[in-house]
């Protein structure tokens, strides 16, 4: 493990924020608090992107993740009124099993990093994270995956609409009778 005193303090602070918020996401009982902590985690990861000279990615991460996806989560939570504090947690058996398996995975990761002999010390190069260089690579080398991701979005949109639609039998049961009562 690297010595803590050698690590620069901006990196340390941001890492502590992101790890603490991630732990809160996992352990909090209320889903709304989980969503808010996850948004904080995304903010700190965006700050990491800025430190890595990936400015465009930092902005996109904020807009797409913290702005769009997390708002979608919040909408679903509030529309379904899911913010119950009393989520039945899994038993202690599950807690121990999950903790042991996640800890073992972390152990394997750290062991494999420590045995890798080459330590890259090169500093982040400026310019790779700017819109100009990213766009040049995206529209030359990765044009086909770019178009395919458009098709994937279309399929996901159609799928979400189809899944979210009420079927006719259900609708006649609940919604129309509900309206008549009102």
């Amino acid at each position: 493990m690297p010595e803590l005193s050698k690590i620069p303090w901006p990196f340390l602070i941001l890492s502590f924020i992101s790890i603490l918020c991630a732990l809160y996401v996992v352990t909090s009982n209320s889903p709304i608090r989980s969503v808010l902590a996850l948004i904080l985690t995304f903010f700190s990861i965006s700050a990491h992107y800025v430190m890595l000279n990936a400015q465009f990615l930092a902005i996109v991460n904020l807009i797409v993740y913290a702005g769009a996806i997390m708002v979608l989560f919040l909408f679903v939570l509030m529309l379904l009124n899911l913010n119950k504090e009393t989520e039945p947690l899994k038993s202690n058996k599950w807690l121990i099993g999950a903790a042991v398996s996640a800890g073992l995975l972390l152990l394997v990761f750290t062991a494999s990093i420590q045995t890798s002999s080459e330590h890259i010390m090169r500093h982040p190069e400026a310019g790779t994270g700017l819109v100009k260089s990213l766009g040049k690579v995206l529209f030359t080398d990765y044009l086909v995956p770019f178009e395919l991701s458009g098709i994937l979005f279309l399929a996901a949109m159609v799928g979400a609409v189809m899944l979210g639609k009420r079927d006719a039998a259900n609708e006649s049961d609940t919604e129309i009778t509900g309206r008549e009562e009102v």
Binding site: S18, A22, V25, V26, L57, L152, N170
Partner: protein
């Protein structure tokens, strides 16, 4: 100390450790929690850990391809969140709960 030199002393192994820890926290959440919406959030957390690692390697190597992969991961994450939340709404409509342990009909 110049502001540049602060950032240049961060080794890439620090970023690797950080993203490993975030990934393992997300994995723990997926295994432990029962609320389906929290499970989806933990998956987003794991995807973000991978994104951070991609970006770290990409900018330390001076190669833009890694950051483009982050875009594609974001595309997949957005599609996954949309479809996953639609499935969750449908599940809530049928069972009035978001507890994934109620979805054991296929267990046999």
């Amino acid at each position: 100390m110049k502001p540049d030199s602060i950032f240049h002393t961060v080794e890439i192994s620090h970023y690797i450790y950080l993203s490993c820890v975030l990934f393992c926290i997300g994995l723990f959440g997926v295994l432990f929690r029962r609320n389906a919406i929290v499970l989806l959030m933990c998956i987003e957390l794991m995807l973000n850990a991978v994104n951070l690692l991609f970006t770290a390697f990409s900018s330390y190597m001076g190669d833009s391809s890694g950051q483009l992969f982050v875009f594609f991961v974001m595309v997949v994450a957005a599609a996954e969140a949309a479809v996953g939340l639609a499935i969750l709404v449908m599940m809530f409509r049928n069972t009035r709960t978001t507890d994934v342990s109620f979805l054991s009909n296929l267990k046999g």
